[in-house]
């Protein structure tokens, strides 16, 4: 039965050497891109750690270690590939690597698919991010006043720094601050009538204010910041609509953080995709070189042409035969009939491959 090869090409000696050179260069580029991935992973780790307390589900925490390990694996695999491609043009040196090549190609294939999965994860993770940020920010704002509760005492500082750095205010906008009590009861004069009236004015007994913390103030506003009695027009002279827009940051922190992380993840995903393309090229090149050199070995003449391919049989047949091998690995046979053991035939001293 004639086998249908996948991607069959014929290589002359010069073409084989050219392939090895190109492969050498591609492997070095991939080593560099592996290093870039490691650096990117470290940078992303720092960025995620900064605001990780404000997220409820911390799925994004898995992305940096994944990047770092992928980068390191890429460096190792491609460094090995550099040595391989240097040695593989010469038949004698190829014999040293012969046994290692097929496992190397398989592991590179697995690794390349992992990179693709990683890139797709980077692009898809931002959908879960929005919800976890909403819940995280809401809880953080509720804990803003609890600067004496162990475990939450730094929440005020974190939120203030977030609003100062990211130029945002509140969860969706600054009005979120008017719906929660962000002044601790420790600093409220409970004997004062005004304070008690305010506490009674709502069901939950909270001291709600028509204002926001100082970190919501925008330095771009020409006014000295107006944080209190925001909606009372009578109190502040000349504080019209335009002034209101510039006074506090109008963007909500959820949106600000979403934009920040989505941008980071998008560029990370693109870089990982680029690395995947290089790895795919390296994989194809190594497979062709491996099959070409093995066929050269069978032919015996180092100067002759040889064929290279990606798969010896069609995809379906390769899948079936691989599945067969995996099935047989698990089965227990008696010594004489075990298909996994090569026995020497008594007739002509050749190994029988069942």
């Amino acid at each position: 039965m004639a086998s249908v090869m996948v991607g069959r090409l014929t290589f002359t000696k010069a073409e084989r050497e050219k392939l090895a050179e190109v492969l050498w260069l591609l492997n070095w580029i991939s080593v560099v891109s592996g290093l870039v991935l490691v650096v990117l992973g470290l940078f992303l780790r720092v960025e995620v750690q900064r605001w990780v307390e404000l997220m409820e589900e911390q799925a994004i925490l898995y992305v940096p270690p994944m990047l770092i390990s992928t980068g390191l694996a890429a460096c190792v695999i491609n460094f090995l590939g550099v040595r391989l491609s240097l040695d593989c043009t010469d038949l004698n040196r190829f014999l040293r690597w012969k046994l290692l090549l097929l496992p190397y190609v398989c592991s590179t294939f697995c690794f390349t698919s992992c990179i693709l999965v990683g890139a797709l994860t980077c692009f898809s993770i931002h959908s879960t991010l929005e919800d976890s940020l909403f819940v995280g920010l809401r809880d953080a704002m509720r804990s803003y006043k609890d600067t004496d509760t162990p475990g939450r005492c730094l929440m005020k500082k974190n939120l203030d720094l977030l609003q100062l750095h990211m130029h945002c205010c509140g969860n969706t906008d600054h009005r979120d601050w008017t719906r929660i009590q962000w002044v601790s009861t420790r600093y409220l004069d409970l004997s004062s009538r005004a304070v008690r009236e305010r506490l009674r004015s709502n069901v939950a007994g909270q001291y709600l204010m028509d204002g926001a913390p100082f970190s919501c103030c925008s330095p771009l506003s020409p006014w000295p910041c107006i944080q209190n009695q925001l909606t009372n027009r009578l109190v502040h002279l000349g504080f019209d609509r335009v002034g209101q827009q510039q006074n506090l940051w109008s963007r909500g922190c959820r949106l600000a953080l979403m934009e920040h992380y989505t941008g980071l993840l998008r560029s990370t995903g693109l870089t990982v995709l680029l690395v995947w393309v290089f790895e795919l090229l390296v994989l194809t090149g190594v497979r062709y070189l491996q099959t070409a050199m093995e066929n050269l070995l069978l032919l015996g003449d180092p100067e002759s042409e040889s064929d290279g391919w990606i798969l010896e049989n069609s995809l379906a047949q390769t899948a079936r035969s691989n599945l067969g091998i995996i099935k047989n690995l698990g089965k227990c046979y008696q010594v004489e009939v075990d298909p996994n053991i090569n026995t020497i035939s008594k007739k002509n001293n050749l190994p029988i491959d069942r």
């Binding site: 600067t147 601790s184 600093y187 100082f214």
Partner: protein
Amino acid sequence: MALMVVKFDLKKRVKLAQTVWFMYWFAVMAGVLVFSMGLFFKIELRKRSELMDNNESHFLPNLLIFMGLITCGINAFGGKICYDSLDPTKFVKWKPMLKTFLVFCMVFNALLLLTALVCFLMRIPLQFTLAEGLRNGMRYYKDTDTPGRCYMKRTLDLMQMEFRCCGNEHYRDWFEVQWVSNRYLDFSAKEVKDRIGSNVDGQYLMDGVPFSCCNPSSPRPCIQYQMTNNTAHYSYDHYTEELNVWKRGCSDALLSYYGGMMNTIGALVVLVTMLEVAVTVGLQYVDSSLSTLANPEDPESESEGWILEKTVKETFTDIIAKMKAMGKGSKVEEGGEAAAAPSS
């Protein structure tokens, strides 16, 4: 008796030339470093020139840029000479100017050391510029509608937030200027009229600070108004309150920022000077070893290298004698001309 004599054979001469060539390449990179440090410092000064009333002196960064460029040039030239010294035919064309080049290198190294000294000393004029600039900046904080000063508020706010400081020396500096524009004051209110009447200049002074002075680490929401009035806020004592606003003055914060930068640059320039001295000494050895060949025709003969041909004292007296001779020579010429003129 020459200073620090070393014997050289061909192998040692080649090794010396290669080492000095290598060191010259490092020195070129050091020159690039000095240039880029000067550029970086210049950019940092320009970024905050508003806070220094656009009065800051750019002498130091310009000097660093200039010295960096000259260092690159000298070291590239020296590297070329070292490279050519391995080939006797090429070296012959450099030989006449080598002595002058070495003297020029020594003068340049002294200038580099002087630059490092300037780096350490520039802190003092900067201190005065900063204090003056910040004082004016605080006065213009409220002028957000005056062209040319409308961004002072934004600059000051961003600076106080970034450097974690408040006011010039202390946050109380804000109590002495009017930082709320008249546009936002209701002149019909009694409180406003009282305050304006309470001081000679008719300024609306308050015991409050802008929001950018607030410290996010404070456990309570920031108290920026009526800061000295303990009764205005519940459970508040302004004498013991540490975390409410930034305690540090901005002139101190900026000075330590720029001072640190200048100290680092000064230290790096000292290191670059030491490298330059080393390559100059190396080139002197190359020159002296190639001029004292036992047999000028045979490149493989032995030779000696030194730093100075005579001892330090003798070299010094030689230089003084030469300078005197030059001075006398011009006098004799003048006397000769004067004698010749009347006689003609």
